[in-house]
């Protein structure tokens, strides 16, 4: 049987350690093969409908991800020296590898179409830096007179310019943004500032930060846990092995993931953080039991055998339930979540294996007299924990009806909180407030039409459909409708270009600032634009056959909720104003894609949690060989989960990606205590047949183990809240609250419930 593994480790501690070290080295050897993927788009399967469509849109319209650089000057940017700086900056930015030269939008690279007497002028907005006041005024007039530019490349107040830098691939965004920073930084003076915004920068920067955080917060968390354990158990050599269990299981899990050729995604980067508490959990149970038993046995071998006998079954079951919780994530329709689930599950089982081998083996290596000295002689009677725990147990047991009533009320409160949860996410908010990216996001979206890009694609059935005046007009009206919304700062489309040409060709007569009435006119205006400007400018808006048109929708905020609202608004508009025959509309773009995977994720996670809830319930029924016990064991975790999410609802924290991922962990983590509690309750009751005595026993050593574990995890994960990335903060805070509720509900509610129904249930359960 599996227990032999532990016996083997007790007999051959050195060999056990060597073997586990070797296995760890093998997994570690895979690390150099690491491939990183920070693209949230990969949250969707490649063939998922919206993603495939977005890929199509990108290809069809030659669209690239955009970095938006803003340069502001409190004194206004219309001075020769500032304009000259802008020119110099742009001419250096285009030299950065990976920047799409011809699609860069700025004063010095974008054409302005205007009338100049008999001439139709198609020239750079700023061909050369103006040096007289007259030239400056003229430039100002040219820019503000063209609606395509206002709030796109120039702010209304003239204090900021925006430069749109398209990049070949999104994962170049971080590097390119760093190079842009280097170019800009030295050039600005006191009144001038620069900002880098746009989802690609946020997403790619997150990827880079994430690894820094992994290297910083994970070890820090480890250190705090280590210190806590040292405080609890007071013997350095005793508490060192759990740290190795945690480290090794992380190496095993990550090593296998990398070795099998999976990419380390934002999600899988969290594996170490998720594995650590679970890995530590079982070790603390062993140490706690050992620490409490040793003084009476005074033989490490015998103590370990007894501990194993007590803990083996609950530890196996807690590990299996946690693993099942994560494995259930494979039901989610999101590839990185599936990978995450599978490898955390693997890591958990690795942690279990290491716990039942490495921890006993390492204890065997500590000399008996040393254990004696630190565990027996230094031990203070009636520790702090005992002073709290045993009254607690008696209170819950005897005040059971009060406890259950209070619990029911709290649960109702929790459910109310859950009902207030708002599902929402925005990758920019994965950075803490006050961070460079958040500041840039705020400033840029105040000054300009918006850095969040979504595309509304008008799809025609036939070629040339977009050149139809009715279609063109529909697009134009739809844009006006969209721009009425405060959230939408700016829209641009082929209709704007056609209107502009019409207006300019007719001597800038306002009466012609509209979509022309005939197909020929539209066709010829587009040809004119194509012939004299930059053909790429048009390509971004219509496809090769003029079958599809792409409306750029720039939004000032990029939360899923905002995107959702705008999409709903457009649906409503379409219902009231159906598009011309043979044309339909479809959303795309990064902001929209984020909303799509978020929707899938929420649904997928909910399904996964419900699925694993059922599986865990079945496991519990098998473990306790009783339906009633099975149900009771699920109660503390139900409490912990409902209350933790209730808090999320009450404090108004958005239900975002990290929160969703936490739900998978909550099940496995929260059931742990209940299993230990009930398994030992059942066993003791079997021996004594007396509920009160059993309860008193449970509030001795077993409750101490639970409380110690609770403390270690609650405090141990607080360092995560210092992280600069909010997902880590969220995970840290969520773990803490989950463990608080899980500990409390186990220690209060379970004794109360067992007091009420325990006698009946366990009699039925006993053979």
């Amino acid at each position: 049987m599996l227990r032999r593994l532990t016996y083997f480790s007790i007999d051959r501690p050195k060999l056990t350690i060597v073997i586990s070290l070797l296995v760890t080295i093998i997994f570690m050897s895979q690390f150099p093969k690491i491939r990183i993927d920070t693209d949230p788009e990969n949250m969707l399967e490649t063939h998922q409908r919206d993603r495939a469509f977005y890929d199509g849109v990108k290809g069809e319209f030659g669209i690239h991800d955009l970095i938006v650089l803003g340069i502001t000057d409190e004194n206004g940017i219309f001075s020769p020296s500032t304009l000259e700086k802008i020119q110099r900056i742009v001419s250096q930015i285009v030299k950065i590898k990976g920047v799409i030269i011809e699609d860069l939008i700025s004063f010095t690279t974008t054409d302005n179409v205007k009338a100049d007497g008999d001439f139709l002028q198609i020239k750079r907005i700023m061909g050369k830096v103006p040096d007289t006041q007259r030239e400056i005024d003229r430039l100002k007039r040219d820019i503000y007179e063209n609606p395509l530019f206002v709030e796109k490349i120039i702010s209304k107040d003239g204090k900021g310019v925006a430069i749109y830098v398209p990049v070949q691939k999104k994962d170049m965004s971080y590097r390119i943004s760093k190079e842009i920073e280097k170019i800009v930084e030295g050039k600005l003076d006191g009144t001038q500032r620069y900002y880098l915004a746009g989802l690609p920068v946020a997403e790619d920067t997150f990827g880079h930060e994430m690894f820094k955080q992994m290297g910083l917060t994970a070890p820090l968390t480890g250190l705090v846990i280590f210190l806590l354990m040292f405080l609890l158990f007071r013997k350095l050599t005793l508490v060192i092995s759990p740290m190795f269990v945690a480290m090794f299981s992380v190496v095993w899990g990550m090593g296998l993931l990398i070795g099998l050729g999976f990419t380390v995604h934002i999600m899988s980067s969290m594996i170490p953080v998720f594995l650590m508490p679970i890995a530590v959990l079982d070790s603390v149970h062993i140490l706690s039991e050992f620490y409490d038993r040793y003084p009476s046995v005074r033989d490490r071998r015998k103590t370990l055998m007894a501990v194993t006998d007590q803990l083996f079954t609950p530890m196996l079951y807690t590990s299996i339930t946690s693993a099942v919780g994560f494995a259930s994530l494979t039901l989610a329709p999101i590839p990185p979540v599936r990978v995450f689930g599978v490898f955390v599950a693997f890591g958990i089982m690795a942690a279990w294996l290491l716990t039942i081998t490495l921890v006993p083996a390492s204890i065997m290596l500590i000399r008996e007299e040393k254990l004696e000295r630190s565990l027996v002689q230094k031990r203070r009677e009636g520790s702090f924990l005992d002073k709290i725990l045993s009254p607690m147990g008696r209170f819950s047991f005897f005040g059971r009806r009060t406890v259950v009533l209070a619990a029911a009320l709290t649960l109702a409160l929790g459910i109310w909180g859950v009902s207030r949860i708002v599902i929402n996410d925005n990758p920019v908010k994965w950075f803490k407030e006050g961070s460079k990216i958040r500041v840039a996001d705020t400033v840029m979206n105040r000054l300009f039409g918006g850095t969040y890009m979504a595309y509304l694609v008008a799809k025609g059935e036939k070629e040339e459909a977009i050149k139809r005046p009715d279609v063109m007009e529909y697009i134009d009206h739809l844009q006006s409708y969209l721009e009425e919304d405060d959230l939408v700062g700016k829209t641009s489309s082929v209709a704007d270009i056609v209107k502009r040409i019409n207006y300019v060709l007719h001597g800038e007569d306002k009466a012609f600032d509209r979509v022309p009435k005939s197909r020929e006119e539209i066709g010829q205006y587009l040809f004119l634009f194509l012939s004299s400007g930059d053909p790429n400018d048009l390509d971004n808006f219509v496809d090769n056959d003029y079958k599809d048109a792409n409306i750029w929708v720039q939004m000032k905020r990029g939360e899923n909720r905002d995107m959702e609202r705008i999409a709903l608004k457009v649906r409503e508009y379409i219902r009231e104003n159906p598009p011309p025959e043979g044309v339909r509309l479809q959303w795309s773009g990064l902001t929209y894609i984020n909303k799509v995977w978020q929707d899938l994720m929420v649904g997928g996670m909910l399904k996964a949690v419900l699925g694993s809830f059922a599986v865990v319930l079945v496991l519990m029924i098998i473990l306790f060989r009783s339906f009633g016990m099975g149900f009771i064991s699920m109660i503390p975790l139900t409490f912990a989960i409902v209350l933790s999410y209730g808090i999320v609802g009450f404090i108004g924290k958005d239900y975002d990606m990290p929160i969703a991922v936490c739900s998978s962990l909550s099940l496995g983590l929260a059931i742990d205590f209940a299993i230990h509690f009930l398994q030992r309750f059942k066993r003791k009751y079997g021996e004594t047949g007396d509920l009160e005595r059993t309860n008193d026993y449970i509030f001795g050593e077993p409750a101490r183990a639970i409380a110690r574990n609770g403390l270690v995890i609650i405090i141990g994960f607080l360092p995560l809240t210092l992280s600069t990335l909010t997902p880590y903060v969220t995970v840290g805070a969520f773990f803490a609250s989950l463990m608080i509720f899980s500990t409390l509900s186990t220690l209060f509610l379970l004794p109360a419930l067992m007091g009420i129904v325990g006698g009946r249930l366990l009699k039925g359960g006993r053979r």
Partner: protein
Amino acid sequence: MKGKIIAVIVAILSLSVANTKALSAQETSATDVIKKSLNAFYYQGSDMKVRVNMKLINRQGKERIREFVMLRQNEQLGGNQKYFIYFFRPADVERTTFMIWKYPEKDDDRWLFIPAINLVRRIAANDKRSSFVGSDFTYEDVSGRDVESDTHSLVREEQVNGRDCFILESLPREEAEYAKKVSWIDKQNFLPLKEEYYDIQKDLYKVYASDEVKEIDGFPTVVRRTMRNVKTGHRTEVVFDTVQYGVGIGDSLFSERYLKSPPRKWIR
């Protein structure tokens, strides 16, 4: 003694003068090759009439068609030229005409006739390096770039498709959309057989190829050519269908009046 020193100085000076002469001679010969090439490529005959079929092919293999008659008249070899273009396709721009008076040393004059609103507009455009009717060719690729805009140097000689070529490197004197151009110029007829354009990120981004050369009325003429943008995957294929030289177009055609209603014989 003094005389000797002076003699030495003179000798050194004359040596260095000879040296610079040798250098500039090398440069001149490169410039000469380019000049000859421009003449062979853009100035054959006193005038030219050609029906052009242009295919603009995007990365996904989808095509857009441009079909037009192009009439060209030289004022002097290597100097000013006039171009008249009449479009047949795409269908919705039929009857659109386009006229360019080309001056090598300054901005061109351009006129466009828009039939849908019966309007001729003069166009003042950016630069000669912007796209010609949405293709991968620029205006300069169609009508030639001033030899003085770049510094040219002969880098080596090599064969292309069995023909001996000069390989020249041209660097723009002022910032342009390309940072370097390498041309393979046929030693015999001075037609460019291949050109490579490098952008300011130092990447190769455009490649020109003369796909077929035919002798027409005694002038070696590139009748099929391709310009390929290797960065975007977009390319433009051009076929010269019926090329005629010395047809006697005359100066009067190149006027605003004829933009609106060109004589039928010139646009057939």
